[in-house]
């Protein structure tokens, strides 16, 4: 399951965000998007050295300033439930056991063939979800081309 999908399922859950400048923001995730921009509520901001604290009712963090996010472990359990409930979005296409942008047979041989992992195969799944990374040059993920 893709990192951004994991993030989407952890909406309304508490999380810790560390930015590139070392500040940490502890709060509940209200929303996120494909750029990892996040909206948090009831936030406690800690400075880089850990000596200053601010309480912020709401904040919006631009995705590219994020270093990492720490989520509660029980989110993984929640994610499994979510993926079981959601109906398949792209119809029969999504069931093909290959990764890649939809390049049929070629994509099917890239990587490990016939490898249906429960949580992984991130690159290929990214290729299916058409809305992903819309602003990033519109490139689909996981383009496995035949190398030289």
């Amino acid at each position: 399951m893709l990192p951004l999908t994991l993030l989407r399922t952890s909406v309304y859950h508490p999380m810790l965000v560390e930015l590139k400048n070392g500040e940490t923001y502890n709060g509940n995730l209200m929303s996120c998007d494909n750029f990892m921009n996040i909206h948090l509520r009831d936030v406690i901001c800690t400075s880089r050295d850990g000596d200053r604290f601010w309480k912020i009712p709401e904040c919006y963090i631009r995705g590219n300033t994020i270093k990492y996010l720490r989520l509660p472990e029980d989110i993984l359990g929640l994610v499994k439930e979510d993926t079981n409930e959601k109906p398949s979005r792209s119809g029969p296409n999504s069931r093909r056991p290959f990764r890649g942008r939809g390049d049929g047979g070629r994509g099917g041989h890239g990587g490990r063939p016939g490898d249906q992992r429960k949580g992984g195969g991130g690159g290929g799944r990214g290729g299916h979800q058409g809305s992903r990374g819309g602003g990033r040059g519109g490139q689909q993920g996981g383009q496995f081309r035949q190398g030289r």
Binding site: M1, L2, P3, L4, L6, L7, L19, K20, N21, G22, M36, G63, N64, T65, I66, K67, Y68, L69, R70, L71, P72, E73, I75, L76, R99, H109, G110, G111, R112, R117, G119, G120, G121, G122, G123, R125, G126, R132, G133, R136, G137, Q139, Q140, G141, G142, Q143, F144, R145, Q146, G147, R148
Partner: protein, 158 residues
């Protein structure tokens, strides 16, 4: 890395090569100097490689994200280390320095002594202070010689 996925015909570049390492325990080093040991659960990638140019150099821009599970932050000061459990991480790919596979069956080449977390945090603070002092002296000496430092590129932006 899993070499079985690297051969002449099917070469996965950059982050995609990590697919073979899913559910394996990896050591991830971040650009801020943190070392994490965790199971890689999933990743994504975007951008694409442009293939080869006439000098056989691959161009690829890939800034994916990683999901790390059961992560431990390993702090090493000298020969002493401690693992701080951190849980579930989603890391933005651009902050990763390198990712390496861990082999626990091999003995450590450098014998590390495990200490408690409080102890290592104390040692880390002292270490940072010492390095800060040395850096300050260095900066002073550089300025006296007319060499002004370029500053920390990351901290400058943010």
């Amino acid at each position: 890395m899993d070499l079985s996925i690297v051969n002449n015909d099917y070469y996965l570049s950059g982050m995609a090569a990590l697919i073979g390492d899913i559910d394996k325990q990896l050591m991830v080093m971040l650009r801020d100097g943190r070392t994490l040991i965790a199971f890689l659960r999933s990743l994504d990638q975007f951008g694409r490689d442009k293939g080869y140019d006439e000098w056989s150099i691959r161009y690829c821009f890939l800034v994916g994200n990683l999901v790390l599970h059961q992560a431990f932050e390993r702090i090493c000061i000298g020969h002493q280390y401690a693992d701080i459990p951190r849980g579930l991480f989603v890391i933005r790919g651009e902050n990763v320095l390198f990712i390496g596979e861990l082999d626990f069956h091999q003995p450590l080449r450098v014998p590390l002594i495990e200490v408690t977390i409080e102890e290592i945090l104390k040692l880390q603070k002292e270490d940072i202070e010492k390095k800060g002092r040395i850096e300050k002296l260095r900066q002073k000496a550089m300025i006296e010689h007319g060499l002004v430092g370029e500053g920390n590129p990351i901290e400058e932006h943010y």
